[in-house]
Every structure is written in structure tokens, then in C-alpha cells.
């Protein structure tokens, strides 16, 4: 298998094996579009289940307890409201503070009080309740949103300058928005509470997604550097080669990035029951998977679609196709052109001057 993977990498690099990712782009666009619509539908119909940090909730304080372990409180709250993941902390020497999302009816509040009093063996009078406000208020959200918008704009400008093509930057941003939408949709579909950790998970995805796109696009840039100076292959073909050549990198990076997160999500959250880490690991897991896939299947094809509207690239593509057709019509070297199209790129030779000399090092 390992040998095959290396072999696969070789074949992808030389163009001997090539997946027509760019050519089949309408397929990917349809798939992503469908996923985005489903995600949007879920978001609109179900919405997010906002947690206590955003909406405020109820706080129970149990005073005069002997045993300050957190377990009984969690069991007690979940016996009344099974989906609740209460936050339990010890206050002072002998008091337990339990924060839950808001119980709207007073009966439930009373039952939770009784359950907590029972769990810690104190009188129900020792359990006080209060409404607590959100710790992550509107102000915090606003600042975070504002920061994110500025960040995306600055990165867009950065990419446009670096690649010297605003269309590349636009493609990356659109693909990144798609990733976020899908990750948010999955999160809403699972229905777990949104906590500040979730938000931070989404921000991480945003960064990761853009990062991954820059790496893939850099290869596209490298491969298409002299595309207009030759007439063997089109921009789309060069870009496709680039995606194929970075495929091994994308798979490796994706696996390496997702393994620790998957460890936390599946082993930690499901098997060992570390409920407090599940929110961040789920958003990261979905986001990293979506981000890696979209760099290959969405960002690059989208970039090609956009770039082909650029007049000089459109003209070049038309020229290449026309020359190929002419060659086909005259029954000549079709294969040669096709070879160049699928195979690795040809770079014109140049005089390398003293670069051709061996370098002396370590002086």
C-alpha cells in the first residue's frame, strides 16, 4: 500500500495518472451547491441551539455540602433534563455552583433543586437559584464578528496581491464561506449547544480553510506561471495538473490535521465521555474535512472558471483549442498536444549563468 501511495504520487506528479477535477467542475459545483442549500435549510429551520453563555440561564448554588465532587450534580440535572450539560464548579470551601440553560417553568426548577439537594444530602432550603445573564454578550459577539470581517477582507487583499489575481482571492473566499456554511449546517443538524468554544472552532476553520487554499493555489500559480507563452496546454489543464500534484500533500495534511481532532471527538467525547470538549472538536472535525476537500474540488475549479473569464486567458484557451482542432483536422500529432496537456509541463530552457555552477557552502 505504501509503495502504491508513493507510486500514486509519482503518477500524479508526472501526469501519467490524472483526475479530471477541473474538467468535471460542474459536478462539484452542483454537489457543493446542494450541500450548501441543505445546510442553509437546516440553519433556517432548526437554527442554532445557543448555550448558556449567549442566552443566560439558571444558576443553582448548593451550600453546606460535605462532598464537593462534580459528578452528582451532573447526574442530578440530567435526571430532570437529559440533554443538559451543566457546568459545575466548587465555590469556596463547601458550596457547589451549577449553571444550566434556563428552565422556563418553575416546576422544573423545583425538581432540579430537590434533585440537587438529594444528590448532596442537604436540605432543599440550602439550594438557591438565580437567573444569570450571558457571559458572551452582544458586545462580545459584535467585536468578534467585526474582527472576522476585517480579517477576511485583509486576507482577501493579501491574496490578491500575492497571487496578482483578484479572482484567485475571490475563489478562495467563496470556497471558505462554503466550508463554514457546511460546518455550521452539520453542527446545527447535530443539535449540540453552541458555546464560545464552538465559535472559536469556526474561527479556526476559517483560518485553516484559507491557509489550505493558499498552499494549493500557490502550486497553481507555479504551474501556470508561463501558461500564456506556450500553446500546448490551456490554463485549465495546467491548473488541473497542479491540483493533482498537490493531491498527496492535501491528503497527508488533511489526515495529520484531523487525527488529533478525531481522537478528541471520537475517543474522548464518545467513548470516555469528555462532554466538554465535544463542541469544539465537532466543529473542527467537520471544518477541517470540508476545508481540505474544498481546496481541491471547489476552490481550484472555481478559480479556473473565474480566470477563464479573464480576456487574455480566454483568448489563450481558444487559441490552444483551435490549434488542436486544426491539428486533428489535418490528422497530425494530436497525441503530442494531448501529451503536453496531460503530462507535466514543459518549461522553456534558459541560460542559467552561474546558477549552473556548484554552490559552495559552509564558508
Amino acid at each position: 500500500m505504501a509503495l502504491n501511495f508513493a507510486q500514486w504520487g509519482n503518477d500524479l506528479y508526472t501526469g501519467r495518472r490524472s483526475y479530471q477535477i477541473v474538467a468535471h467542475r460542474s459536478r462539484w459545483f452542483t454537489a457543493v451547491g446542494a450541500l450548501a442549500i441543505i445546510a442553509l435549510a437546516i440553519l433556517l429551520s432548526r437554527g442554532f441551539n445557543l448555550g448558556i453563555d449567549f442566552r443566560g440561564g439558571s444558576e443553582f448554588t448548593v451550600s453546606g455540602v460535605q462532598d464537593t465532587s462534580q459528578g452528582p450534580a451532573i447526574t442530578a440535572v440530567q435526571s430532570i433534563s437529559p440533554d443538559e450539560v451543566p457546568r459545575v464548579s466548587v465555590v469556596g470551601q463547601n458550596a457547589i455552583r451549577v449553571q444550566t440553560s434556563e428552565f422556563t417553568n418553575t416546576e422544573d426548577v423545583q425538581r432540579v433543586r430537590d434533585a440537587l439537594a438529594g444528590a448532596y444530602g442537604v436540605d432543599p432550603g440550602e439550594v438557591t437559584t438565580a437567573f444569570i445573564g450571558p457571559t458572551w454578550g452582544a458586545g462580545v459577539s459584535q467585536r468578534a464578528l467585526w474582527g472576522t470581517v476585517v480579517f477576511v477582507l485583509v486576507v482577501a487583499v493579501f491574496m490578491a496581491l500575492y497571487f496578482r489575481a483578484w479572482r484567485m482571492s475571490l475563489a478562495a473566499i467563496i470556497a471558505m464561506l462554503g466550508d463554514i456554511l457546511i460546518a455550521a449546517g452539520v453542527y446545527a443538524a447535530v443539535g449540540w449547544e453552541v458555546t464560545p468554544s464552538t465559535i472559536i472552532g469556526f474561527l479556526t476553520i476559517l483560518g485553516y480553510s484559507l491557509y489550505d487554499k493558499v498552499v494549493v493555489f500557490d502550486k497553481v500559480r507555479e504551474n501556470t506561471a508561463g501558461v500564456l507563452d506556450q500553446s500546448r496546454s490551456t490554463y485549465a489543464e495546467r491548473a488541473n495538473l497542479a491540483v493533482n500534484q498537490t493531491l498527496v500533500r492535501s491528503v497527508n495534511t488533511g489526515v495529520v490535521a484531523i487525527l488529533p481532532v478525531a481522537g478528541i471527538l471520537f475517543v474522548g467525547a464518545f467513548l470516555l465521555g469528555a462532554g466538554t470538549l465535544r463542541d469544539i472538536s465537532l466543529s473542527l472535525f467537520v471544518g477541517i474535512a470540508a476545508g481540505t476537500a474544498s481546496s481541491i474540488f471547489l476552490a481550484t475549479p472555481l478559480e479556473v472558471s473565474l480566470r477563464e473569464r479573464e480576456p487574455r486567458i480566454a483568448k489563450h484557451t481558444a487559441k490552444v483549442i483551435a490549434s488542436r482542432q486544426a491539428a486533428a483536422a489535418s490528422g497530425e500529432d494530436v497525441a503530442v498536444h494531448a501529451t503536453a496537456a496531460a503530462g507535466s509541463q514543459l518549461m522553456p530552457g534558459q541560460h542559467r549563468g552561474q546558477q549552473a555552477q556548484p554552490r559552495r557552502k559552509g564558508r
Partner: protein, 596 residues
Amino acid sequence: MRTLVLTAILLIVVPFAALFVGTTLDPRSETNPRGAGFAPGLALDLEGGTQLILTPVPEAAGQVTSTTISQAIEVIRQRVDASGVSEAEITSQGTGASAKIVVALPGSPDEETLRLVRTPAQMEFRPVLVQSFDPTAAPEPTATPSPSPTAEQPAEPTSPSDAAYYITPEVQAAFDRLDCVDPANRAGGLNGPAEAAFVTCDQNGFSKFILGPVEIEGRHITSATSGLESLQGGGVGTEWIVSLKFDGEGTGLFADTTERLLGRTPPTDQFAVVLDGLVITAPQVEAIIPNGEARISGSFTRDSAATLANQLNFGSLPVSFQVESEQQISATLGSEQLQRGLFAGLIGLVLVFVYSLFQYRTLGALTIGSLVVAGAITYLAIALLSWLMGYRLSLAGVAGLIVAIGFTADSFIVYFERIRDELRDGRNLAGAVDRGWTRARRTILAAKGVNLVSAVILYYLAVGGVQGFAFTLGLTTVIDVAVVFWFTHPLMEVISKVSFFRDGHRWSGLSPERLRASGVRYVGAGRFAGPTIAPETGAAEAAATAPEPAVVGVGAPPGGGGEGHLTIAERRAAARGQAAEAGAQDGAADENEENR
């Protein structure tokens, strides 16, 4: 090699030494929570801290509403964030007039932090009408010249310094009764009504004042900074001051005030800076100040000057607060659960190691080594920063670190893949490392640039947990780039000279057999290299296991025409490839690698 040693010294030995010195000179303990320690400080959600319950002290009925509470929360949050205490949790408890504010701070807060969260920091500038250097209560009118209270009150004040209008008999009586020696009168509180005279003490209890109406309100202050005073000669003095900058309106008012007060008879040529009901300082106007910059010196210490600047920067609280209770609270995340989560993350990390060894064979060890080095530097940096600037690691920070494994490993993956690409082109290892590095470097820098930009922007614009996350992201990005440039790449150059790697041992991860087996390769001088049989089996297997065998192969290599487009070498290679392939299926065909 020299770079390697230098890196080791600069990035590991120096921080470690600094930390070691820190733990010796300024050890972290119960009494010194901000000291140095080898374990990084943990944030509220992981370690717990202190919970303060603040009760508003209403000075007028109906003053405490949910709006004032949420305003107060916002201001307290900004103050706490700016003071460097990371990720405080601030929330309201209860509703309406009985609402309280619950502030949870990591660790145990000192007196300055408490003052930061509870004092309103209302600052205003008022003219001095009367100053008495005898701070005790006077049974009968003091020697201080004061206008006769029996005089008829003018209907309108001529100016804010119009003592005849503002000093009413009641004001005079209050002034006479005031005893500034009694600390109870120097506890501070809210400032008096803006349109009337205000009787108060100096904060040290040395003198008492009758002040005119408010001339400039605190909201006109756009920024406040603290520092040591700068002397006329350009040197730095020994007194701590707070420098203020006014906005446009404030600048105008300040210029007007200084112009009007200039040259009046003492003490009415002074203006008083009033903070929370006490006079901090009452300087004499010596010149008109037209540029809207003021400096306040009072008996500040370094900490109190910084606290005041912090408070002024984010505006005042609408009410003052009293600390109702101060209690230790434990971590909000179950410590047991967190350990399980981290254990699971560790399993993931081991899988990452296994995967890199599987993918890159012995070269994977370089990935692991680099990750370990990056991890060690990150740990040291966090421990050092939690000592120097009070950084604390929260759950969000831990998440940032876990994702950083992916980002960091990606730098190595990009680099190794570029080296392999160069090897596939037929370079020797030294040449491949050289060229691969030049190409990988650019990609790595561009991609890390994006990360760094995001970290910096989020750090400056966001608050609370997002800020902690951005900080971790930025820190790991910088460390990552440093490790790739000064550890992985130099080490790669070294091992490219070791025969095991140079000659492409089967398990080195760089073996030409594995990387170049895909067909005939032109090696110059009319000769070709590479097996002609092996790729067939390889390709067939690969085709069988490939997820999507949409292989494009381009069918038969050129038969007749095309002389003008192919080199002789390419034609021969093609012919040989075709010969080797004769009889094989047409679809998943073989394409000879082109000569570059």
C-alpha cells in the same frame, strides 16, 4: 549545522534559562500568583479562580437598571482585558434593581485588580473656588477668604469661577463641616451635580476644596496612558503620571478654561482634576494649553497610574460597586473530563506520528523531531509569557494548540513533497533539497502570512476568548516558521549528506526506486534509466485501488508525425515505452515521463 546549534541556543536554551532564573528570583506561589513557574498558568475554565460578586451602590433611586448593568459589564470587561488578565468571565445575576455583577477572574486578584473592576472612574475638571490647607472641620469660618454668604445671589453666573454665585450658604456650611482627616470622607464616591459647586477632599487628606461646576467631562478624554514624567531637558523623571488626550470638543473647552484661569488670584487660578469624588490634583494654570493634552500627577505608583489610565480609556461606570463576596471557585470544566479529552488528543498525536512514519519512512522521524521541537518551544514560550504578561492557557488556547499540530506538520509535508517532486525530476538529493526548499519556502511563507494576519487582527479587534485563541494561533505560527527555517531545513541539509538518505535507501523515504519508478527516464547522453517492467504492475495495482479510476492517459504515444514537436530522446523513450507496453490495455496507459 551552525544554524542548528544557534537555533538550539536561541530558541530553547535562552528561554529555558530565562525561565529558570525567573523561577529562582520570582517563584510562583500562593502569595505571588503572577510569578514564574515551569507550568504555564491556566485560565479560569481550566484552573478556576476567584469569583467576586459586585453589588451596585445606587446614589439615586432608579439608577440601577438592566441597561446600566450591561453598560457596566461592558466597561469592566474592557478594563480587565486591557490589564492583561486573560479571559475573565463577567455576567449579571438577577434582574432589575436587585441585579448584581459576577466577575470571575483567574487566580487570586490583587488590590489593583479589585479597584479596576469596582471603581466607576468618573473624571471631570472643575475650577477651584476655595482651597483650605487645614483639612479638619472648622467650627467657625476659617481664614480662607470667602465671599460673604449674606450677599444677594446673582441670577446668572458670570463664569464657572464666579464664587459669588456658586458658594451658597449651604455650600459654605458643608465646606466648614467637612473633615478630610477622617478616612471615611476620603473613600470616594460619585461626583456631585455638574451644574453646582462641589465640596470635597484631596485624596491624601491634605486639603479641602470648594469647586465650581464641571468644565470638562471625562467623556471628552480620548486616550489615557501612564508613564514616568518626562523632564524639560528630555530626561525621564521619577514621578508616575497619567497623560490624557482630549477630543476636539474637549480640546476647545480645555483651552478656554486654561485661558480664563490664567493669571487669576490664587487659589482660583487652579483647576481640579476630580476622580470619583476626590481631587487627585489641582494644578495652577501657568500657560494656555491649546493642544488638548494634559498630564496629571498625583501621588501615583506605577500600578495605580496604570490602573487609572486603563479605567479612563474605557469610560466610567454608571454606578459604583461594592464587593459583596469574594470566593474561590473551581474550574468550570470537569478536570477529570479534560484529562480524558487530552488523553484522547494524545492518542491522535501518536496516530499522527505513525502516519508520518508510514508515509515518509525514516524521513517521518524528521517530522516527528520537528514537531517535538516546536512543541517544546511552544511550551517554553507559554510558560514564559504567563510569567511576563500574565498569559493563561484556556480551553480555546488548547484547541488552538491542537490545530497547530496540523498547521505545523503541513510545513514539513509541503517541504518534503517539493523535495520528492525534485527527486522525481531526476535530481540528486542535494540538488533536490536545494531547489525544493526555494519553492517550498515561498509557499510556506505565504500560507503562514495568512495565519499571522488573522491572528493579529483577531487579537486586536476581538475580546475575551477569541483573543486568547488568536494569541495562541499567532504564537504557534511564528514558532512554526522559526522551526522550519532554523531546524527542519538545516537538518534536512545535513541528512542529505548522510549516505542512508543520499543514496536513497529503501526505507529512507527518498529512494529513487520508489519515487522514480514510473517509467523510462532520459538520463542524458542518449541513455535511459528506470525499469520498464515494474511500472506496469505498479500502475495496475494503483489503478485497482484508486478511488476513481478516471485516468486520463493519453493513448498511444506518437507514431508517425510530430517530429517537429518531440525531441529525439522523447521519441525514443516513447518508442521504448510503447514496446514495453505492447499488449497491455489501451485505457490505463503508460505515458513516458518527459524530459525536462
